[in-house]
């Protein structure tokens, strides 16, 4: 997926000379995950900016650059380091178009490598997407495959609204096909990525891999799981999800983030409101625990596994 994003960034840089990449260590180093590798050499240090080490400064100056007509694409080095920029993102970036009565737009993309499963240290494995999905004026997306990553990054850059682009870093290295001719679905569409008849499971980012593994195991045991990839967390595209729940009558929402007051909570509430008479069981959530991300030695106990998803599937089927 990392290479797919690199290719997507390259396409965006070629297509529009107002696109700028900004972030710490994204130049000669290519970012700590090498997602911007080679791009400064190809496009120059005025298109690919190694910035001072100051997250609020990066986002705040990107706002000024967007006012000037640029389309900045920011890299935040790790999920846990986005909070120094939280003020600029939530009180400034998200409201600029509104405060200007629509006379300006904020075509800024903030790329955030996020999530666990890489055995890293404190503040390097978190899933802070709900903070941003909770903020009006921002759009939040997360790809789960190289194909989606390639297209979604280009669509995010083309968007005139600010987009938080959460990259599941444990998926950077696994390979997958990319159809360079077809994006498949628009940026803010969810999608059924595996058909099934007994239970719907929904998630985003790296959780999709876990859900597909769970579906494989369940299939061997005779349970048919349908997997929905949210892809977009703000706005959420409920159409395919509600249709799926209409077919299966059961829904399990899974995420790496904390469960309380989360994207999963929002989906559970909305599906309960809109598909009440389709449901054969309560909507169940599978999340990490409501604790800080533990030392990495404990992360497999902490993060939802295929087995924890299947335990919830069993509970849903028990009704």
């Amino acid at each position: 997926m990392a290479k797919a994003i690199t290719a997507g960034l390259r396409e965006a840089l070629r297509a529009d000379d107002k696109v700028l990449l900004m972030g710490e260590d994204i130049g000669p180093l290519g970012g700590v995950f090498r997602v911007t590798e080679g791009l400064q050499a190809e496009f120059g240090d005025h298109r690919v900016l190694d910035t001072p080490l100051a997250e609020s400064g990066i986002v705040g100056t990107a706002i000024g650059l967007a006012m000037r007509g640029y389309r900045p694409v920011i890299e935040i080095q790790f999920d846990g380091f986005i909070f120094p920029a939280f003020d600029q993102i939530t009180t400034q970036l998200s409201r600029m178009t509104l405060r200007h009565d629509g006379s300006i737009s904020m075509p800024i993309v903030i790329r955030v490598p996020y999530g666990g499963h890489i055995g890293s240290i404190e503040h390097h494995q978190e899933s802070p997407e709900a903070y941003f999905a909770h903020t009006p004026g921002l759009r939040v997306v997360s790809p789960s495959s190289p194909h989606d990553a390639y297209w979604m990054i280009q669509e995010a850059i083309a968007s005139n609204d600010p987009v938080l682009f959460f990259e599941p870093k444990s998926r950077y290295w696994p390979k997958g096909p990319v159809d360079l001719d077809h994006s498949g679905v628009p940026l803010h569409s969810s999608r059924v990525i595996r058909s099934g008849t007994d239970v719907t499971v929904v998630g985003h980012g790296a959780m999709i891999s876990t859900l597909l593994q769970a579906a494989d195991i369940a299939g061997e045991e005779g349970t048919s799981i349908e997997v929905v990839d949210l892809r977009s967390l703000s706005p959420i595209d409920y159409g395919p999800l509600l249709e799926s729940v209409g077919r299966t009558g059961r829904l399990v929402v899974a995420q790496e983030a904390y469960g309380s007051v989360s994207v999963g909570s929002e989906i559970a509430a909305t599906v309960a409101e809109r598909a009440f008479y389709s449901l054969e069981a309560p909507v169940l959530r599978v999340s990490s625990f409501d604790t800080p991300f533990p030392p990495a030695a404990l992360e497999t106990e902490y993060l939802p596994s295929p087995d924890r998803v299947l335990e919830a599937v069993d509970r849903a089927l028990a009704y």
Partner: protein
Amino acid sequence: MVAQEREFTAPTVQLLTPEGALRPSPEAEAYLPLIEALDDATLEQFHRDMVISRRLDITGANLQRQGQLALWVPSHGQEAAQVGSARASRPQDHIFPSYREHIVGMIRGLDPVRILGLLRGATLGGWNPAENGNFHLYTLVLASQTLHATGYAMGIKFDGASGTGDPETDAAVLVYYGDGSTSQGDASEALVFAASYQAPEVFFVQNNQWAISVPVSRQSRTPLSLRGAGFGMPSLRIDGNDVLVSYAATRVALEEARSGQGPSFIEALTYRMGAHTTADDPTKYRTDDEVAYWAERDPIIRYRAWLESRGASAEFFASADEEAADVASDVRKRALEVTVPTRETIFKHVYSEPHPLMAEQAAWLQAYETGFEGGAA
């Protein structure tokens, strides 16, 4: 162990003494030719601007007391800092204000009723900088605008719109903030970015001595002007109640920025004579003696004395007062006509592109309201 006491000082650059005599401090000598080159009309305009600003201040405070504004942000005492710096800018420059620069906005062509609309609770901003002299929106989160200004200035540089050698087109950014804002991390990050990219930008700090009730001594152990130098840019402390030095110092700094010489920093020493906003009571946190000290350094009285010494007529001052009264009266009348926006406004422009949640919630509100009105939902 006894902490070592250190003294940090910086000279204050001044052209006009509090008595209204043109007597430059040694550091200000170099600015004298700039002032001598100004014609009478320009010099008189400085006075008109300052009295309009002060008169508007009274109007705004009254409107707030009468319940017509949610808040008023006084600028009494800071007229020279604001008028001099604003008049030093060129049309192509971009201004990023905090929330007290009413006269700066007016000088750049903004209808002050727009500002009153914001303080009346009718808008969250609502003016288009491109149609209002490149005067950007007020920023209520302290120092946020210093980063936006820096990014904008970086964009000017990346566009090749500064440092071309053509003073008619070269552009720069002038950003205003206060002494309290200098404590915010964003203010320091803005200096880092501006210096790193040599952005065409002038940081203009109005040190009005108080961040609501907290004195500047709690914000900084050093004169604030040393901040800029610490980040590697020319840094200057001026008498912010001297409109001439405010004009001259800002003009030089903007010219340097436009011509590609990078950012600079100006601390204007001034005083907010009134409250921080109509929500606080300055008698609780400062002394009468302090206020009296600054009243003796009033920017308008001092400038008027100098203009009189140059032969300005009583008729001129009367006409300036009359103009200010007319402006204030007109603003007051039109501010009261600012209407409540329609309910659809809540959902408009939250996003640039269509957003299903906005459409859905707008439709729900419409149906809900229609139900009350007796129509079919």
